[in-house]
């Protein structure tokens, strides 16, 4: 009966989205509103563009910049965060600066990066990395600092050096908190990727959508919007899976608590 229960849950979860799409489809079928073309036409255009014709031209550059920027943010955020988290006194001085930098809306920093780097790819990667680093940095610092004293005491009594304690005990213990920072950083990285393309032209899904909107190619613009939405959703799903696998011990522990 378990399979039946599962199926039921899927059905209950699915009927609303299916219904909404159906409503959209039929309500827009004969539409003459220039801003809300029939969903069927949007779908046709979507397939023409993104399955898979324009993918290498726009999707690949976007994802490349996103991946590179995010990777830099992870390495810097976790690496520096670990060192800062372990050193109480240094962090006291760095904290106000970090707080301030983190309070600037990431998208608003894109004009700054354009001023420094121009409209090159480096501008995008730098802006993405900058925006995504702060939540990761903060989460790492917080995670490292809040390690349970019992864990570190045990390791210390067994004569692990403080470096070993940092990387072998505090770091893994901090992973749940670090992952929440990684998730926030992921979302910011995605937003800045798009923003850097809206503001910077060139290639990329955001750039494509911007140009389509400016040129009044409504169908194209809609496909761009939908593609961005789907990609954003997909990226988050992938992250969720990676998190569940990496933190299996944490979720296993919580379930029994």
């Amino acid at each position: 009966m378990r399979a039946g229960r599962r199926l039921l849950n899927i059905l209950i979860g699915a009927w609303l989205p299916v219904l909404l799409i159906y409503l959209w489809w039929t309500a827009s079928a004969g539409s003459t509103n220039p801003y809300f073309p029939p969903l069927s036409e949007i779908w046709t255009r979507f397939q023409e563009l993104w399955v898979f014709d324009q993918v290498p031209i726009h999707v690949v550059p976007s994802l490349q910049n996103f991946a590179m920027g995010y990777a830099i943010a992870v390495v810097v955020g976790v690496g520096v965060g670990a060192l800062l988290g372990a050193s109480r006194s240094t962090y006291r001085y760095v904290e106000p600066v970090v707080d301030f930098a983190r309070s600037i809306p990431a998208v608003a920093t894109v004009p700054v990066f354009i001023a420094i780097f121009g409209l090159e790819t480096s501008m995008r990667v730098a802006a993405i990395a900058f925006g995504a680093t702060w939540p990761i940095l903060l989460a790492t610092i917080q995670g490292i600092r809040s390690t349970d004293a019992t864990l570190t005491d045990t390791a210390t009594v067994f004569r692990l050096t403080s470096t070993q304690v940092l990387w072998r005990v505090r770091m893994p213990a901090a992973m749940p908190i670090i992952f929440s920072g990684l998730q926030l950083g992921l979302q910011i990285a995605f937003v800045v990727t798009i923003a850097s393309e809206f503001l910077g032209a060139g290639f990329g899904i955001g750039a494509f959508t911007q140009i389509a909107t400016d040129s009044f190619l409504i169908l194209d613009a809609w496909t761009g919007v939908i593609l961005m939405g789907l990609l954003g959703y997909l990226i988050n799903i992938i992250f969720d899976i990676v998190e569940r696998l990496s933190l299996r011990w944490y979720y296993g522990q919580k379930k029994l608590a």
């Binding site: 009594v157 067994f158 692990l160 944490y250």
Partner: protein, 257 residues
């Protein structure tokens, strides 16, 4: 017999968060004989755990010194292993039991085969053969504490320190674990210090019992438990000497003697 551990005129005080100074321990002196099992008992909050932190090198006394094997300690001494009360927070939850036991062994640079052999023999000693690949949270409380003991045994310590190791398990499991400790004592003869609030347990397991009392705490008495080994749950606890000792210690802890 040489004194394995020598506590000489140790006092401990620290600034009270509410202002003033808190005197926790005052002029504690005691020598732990090699191969002996010593329990430290006293009323709640008297400073047993503070003393333990001093013994494990996690803290330094404000006066006096502690010597291990003739050497004054200024940090966790070599050859010391620890078993703490809260096993959920002292076993690393992201590591399997095997990896948990292997962690302190890294310092000894043993090589793959000997590490493996130590892990297997430690697990066997505590009755956990074959569970190496499990995670701590997949085991019961009693099993986790056994794993914690296995981890301590694997480093082949000269001194074993335990902080209320059985306080968090149910009574039945506690008896099993106490007998395990007796078995380990018979097999290895490791000098052991155990903090406990369970007086029956202290009498059952120890060669000597150190009673702390007062504010600041002093050594109220050192009670020699002259019940011969091997001991058993049924016979030993039935022994009239057991009841006498128990009552005597209890009265001192309660300040009635």
């Amino acid at each position: 017999m040489t004194a394995e551990i020598s506590i000489r005129n140790v006092s401990m005080q620290y600034p009270d968060p509410d202002g003033g100074i808190k005197h926790v321990l005052s002029d504690i002196s005691y020598d732990v004989t090699e191969h002996h099992f010593v329990s430290i008992v006293g009323p709640s909050g008297v400073g047993k755990t503070t003393l333990l932190r001093l013994l494990t090198g996690l803290a330094r006394p404000t006066a006096g010194e502690i010597q291990v094997q003739g050497q004054r300690i200024s940090g966790p001494p070599t050859g010391l292993a620890v078993v703490l009360q809260d096993y959920t927070r002292s076993l690393m939850p992201w590591l399997t039991i095997e990896k948990n036991i292997a962690l302190p062994l890294k310092k000894q640079k043993l090589g793959k085969n000997e590490t493996r052999e130590r892990i297997e023999s430690s697990l066997q000693e505590v009755g956990l053969t074959g569970t190496g690949k499990q995670y701590p949270w997949q085991m019961s409380g009693g099993m986790q504490q056994r794993a914690s003991i296995a981890r301590a045994l694997a480093v082949r310590p000269d001194i074993l320190v335990m902080d209320e190791p059985f306080a968090s398990v149910d009574a039945q499991t506690r008896f099993d674990l106490e007998d395990l400790v007796l078995k380990v004592r018979a097999d290895f003869g490791i000098t052991t210090l155990m903090v406990t609030h369970d007086i029956d347990e202290a009498v059952y397991l120890s060669d000597e019992i150190v009673v702390l009392h007062g504010r600041p705490a002093v050594v109220r008495d050192v009670v020699v438990v002259d019940i011969p080994f091997p001991r058993s749950q049924i016979e030993t606890r039935n022994d009239p000497k057991f009841a006498d000792l128990r009552t005597h210690v209890y009265a001192m802890v309660r300040g009635l003697e």
